[in-house]
C-alpha cells in the first residue's frame, strides 16, 4: 500500500470535471458556498479583531447538538440546527457577559466560554451515550462526501440539489443582501464605535447582528466541513484578501475568489491524495494564503525583497 496514490493528470485534473462532476463538483460547490459566507463574515471579524469568536462559536455547536438530542430525542436536521444555533448565540452572550461583568478581558473570556462549553458537550455525549447517538467525528469533521448522496430538494419539477447545498446557497444570498443593506453601519461600528454611537447608530444591535450572522454561517457550515475546519474558512479568505488589498470592497470580493480557488484546489488535492475533501480545501486555502503572503504586489515578501535588491 502506498501512502500517496499514483499520480495521473487524467484522474486528478480531468475526471473531477467530467465523469466525477456529480460528486466532486457538488462537494466543491458546497465548500465554495461555505467559504463565501464564512469569508464575508470573517472579513468583519478580522477588522474587529474578533477572529477568535469564530473558534468559540464553532466549538459550541457540539454541546448545542447534544442538548438538542437530549431534549427532543430527534436526529432531525431541524432540532440539530436549532440546538447548534441557540448554543452559538449563547456563547456570544456568555462572552459578552463575562467581559462586561468581570475583570476578564475579551480574549480570555472567549477562551473560557468556548473551552467550557465544548467540554460540556463532550461530557454530555459521554454521560448520555446510550441516549445520544451522536457521532462526534461528524460534528467536528463534517460529512462532505455524504452530501452529494442526499436526495435533492425539488421546487416543482426543478431539482435544486441536496438540502445542505440549498441551505448554504440561501444563506449566501441572504448574507449578500444583509451586507448591502447594512454595509455602512458594519463599517463604521468596526472602525470607530465611538463616532458610530455619537451619530446615533445602533452599535450594540449591529454587534449582536454580526454575531447572529456568524452563528448562522457556522451552523449552516459545520454539517459540510465540520466545526473545526469552519474556523479556517472564516479566517483564511479575509486574511488572504487583507494581504492583497487595502480597500474594503475589494477585500470582500477577493475573499470570494479565495473561497472559489480553495474549493477547486481542495477538490483536486482530495482526488490526488484520496483524502477528506473538506480538509483538502482548507489545506488549499492555506496554500493560497501562503502564496499571497509571499507574492502580494504590495505587501509580499518576494516583491519587497526584489525591490530592495533593485534599490541597493
Amino acid at each position: 500500500m502506498t501512502l500517496v496514490p499514483d499520480f495521473s493528470v487524467q484522474r486528478v485534473f480531468v475526471d473531477p470535471w467530467t465523469t466525477g462532476i456529480d460528486s466532486h463538483g457538488m462537494m466543491a460547490l458546497v465548500t465554495f458556498l461555505v467559504g463565501c459566507t464564512c469569508g464575508l463574515v470573517g472579513n468583519f471579524l478580522i477588522l474587529r479583531r474578533m477572529a477568535l469568536m469564530g473558534d468559540a462559536i464553532s466549538h459550541s455547536v457540539l454541546p448545542g447538538i447534544a442538548v438538542a438530542f437530549l431534549l427532543t430525542g430527534s436526529r432531525g436536521i431541524g432540532a440539530m440546527v436549532l440546538g447548534a444555533f441557540v448554543a452559538a448565540f449563547a456563547t456570544h452572550l456568555l462572552v459578552e457577559g463575562i467581559t462586561r461583568y468581570s475583570r476578564v478581558r475579551p480574549d480570555a473570556a472567549i477562551g473560557i466560554a468556548f473551552s467550557t462549553l465544548f467540554a460540556l458537550g463532550v461530557v454530555l455525549v459521554a454521560v448520555f451515550a446510550d441516549r445520544v447517538d451522536l457521532d462526534q467525528d461528524c460534528v467536528l469533521n463534517g460529512e462532505l462526501p455524504m452530501i452529494p448522496l442526499e436526495p435533492p430538494v425539488h421546487l416543482g419539477s426543478l431539482s435544486l440539489g441536496p438540502p445542505p447545498l440549498v441551505r448554504l446557497a440561501g444563506l449566501l444570498v441572504a448574507s449578500v443582501l444583509l451586507l448591502a443593506l447594512f454595509y455602512k453601519e458594519l463599517l463604521l461600528t468596526s472602525f470607530d464605535p465611538g463616532l458610530a454611537a455619537a451619530l446615533g447608530l445602533p452599535v450594540s444591535a449591529v454587534h449582536h447582528g454580526l454575531m447572529l450572522w456568524l452563528a448562522l454561517a457556522v451552523v449552516a457550515s459545520f454539517e459540510a466541513v465540520g466545526a473545526i475546519l469552519v474556523i479556517a474558512l472564516l479566517i483564511l479568505p479575509g486574511a488572504t484578501a487583507a494581504i492583497l488589498t487595502e480597500r474594503m470592497v475589494p477585500r470582500l470580493v477577493l475573499g470570494v475568489v479565495h473561497a472559489a480557488l480553495s474549493a477547486i484546489g481542495g477538490m483536486h488535492l482530495s482526488v490526488a491524495l484520496d483524502c477528506s475533501p473538506a480538509g483538502a480545501s482548507v489545506v488549499a486555502g492555506g496554500a493560497w494564503f501562503t502564496l499571497a503572503w509571499l507574492f502580494s504586489p504590495t505587501a509580499g515578501w518576494v516583491p519587497r525583497w526584489w525591490r530592495s535588491r533593485g534599490a541597493a
Binding site: 443593506l181 470607530d192 465611538g194 454611537a197 455619537a198 451619530l199 446615533g200 487583507a242 480597500r247 474594503m248
Partner: protein
Amino acid sequence: MSGPEAGSTSGGPVAPPLEIHDLTVAYRDKPVLWGVDLEAPAGKLIGIVGPNGAGKSTLIKACMGLLPCASGWVKAFGHPVSESLGRIGYVPQRESVDWDFPVSVMDVVLMGRYGRVGLFRRPSAEDRRIARDCLDQVQMLPFADRQISNLSGGQQQRVFLARALAQESDLYFMDEPFAGVDAATEASIIALLQGLRDRGKTLFVVHHDLPTARDYFDWLLLLNLRVVAFGPTAEVFTPDLLQKTYGGRLTLLSEVAEAVRAKAR
C-alpha cells in the same frame, strides 16, 4: 431649530448649547468625575484643561452618552443629548481607531455623514460634495483617495477634523485634536476652529498644553475630577486656580507663572 441664531429670533429664552447638571461618572465603583455642573455659552471656543486622569475625555464621552452616568443629566440645546445627536459633532482621540483599516480618506470623511444618510441608504452625491468641501477646508483634498494608513499623524488629525466638519453640527466635542501635529498644522487647525466659532458654533476642545491654552480659547474649563473653574479665559487663567487644578506640580506651575508674567507685560 436649525441653529442658535434661529432660536434667538423666535423669542423667549434660548436653550444653552450644553447644560450639565450634577454629572457623576464612575468606573468600577470609583468615581472619575464628580458633580459636574455647568452651562455653556453659545458661540465660544472652550478649552478643557487639567492634569492626566482629570476626567477630560470622560467628560466628553459622558456628555455624548458614550459612557453611563452614575448620576446627573446632560442636555444639548434644551433636549436630552440622545435627541440632539444630529447637532453634535465628535472628534475622538486619534489613537482610538485602527489606522490600518481598509478605507480611504474620503470614506472616513463620509462617515461623518452617516448620521444623516439614514438606514439602508448610501451617501449621496451631495454627501460626497460636502465631504470634498470639508477635506478642502483642512487642505486634505489631494489626499481624498489615499489609504488612511499612508497618512502622517497630522494628516490623520486633519482627516478626523474634516469628518467632524462633515457632521455639520452646532456643538462640537474634540478630544486632543492637536496631539501629534506639527506647529503649522496646529495653527491652521486653530484658525479653522475659530472660524467655526465665528459662525456661532460652540466647541469643547480637550487640550494638553497650558501656555497655548490661554491664547487659543475664549473660555476655559479647569477640570480635576471636579470642575475647578469654568469661565472666560481672562478670569480663570490665574495661578491660583491653575494650582488648584494641577496641584503642586512644580515644573508646570513655573511654566504658568512664566505665562502669566508674559501676559502682564
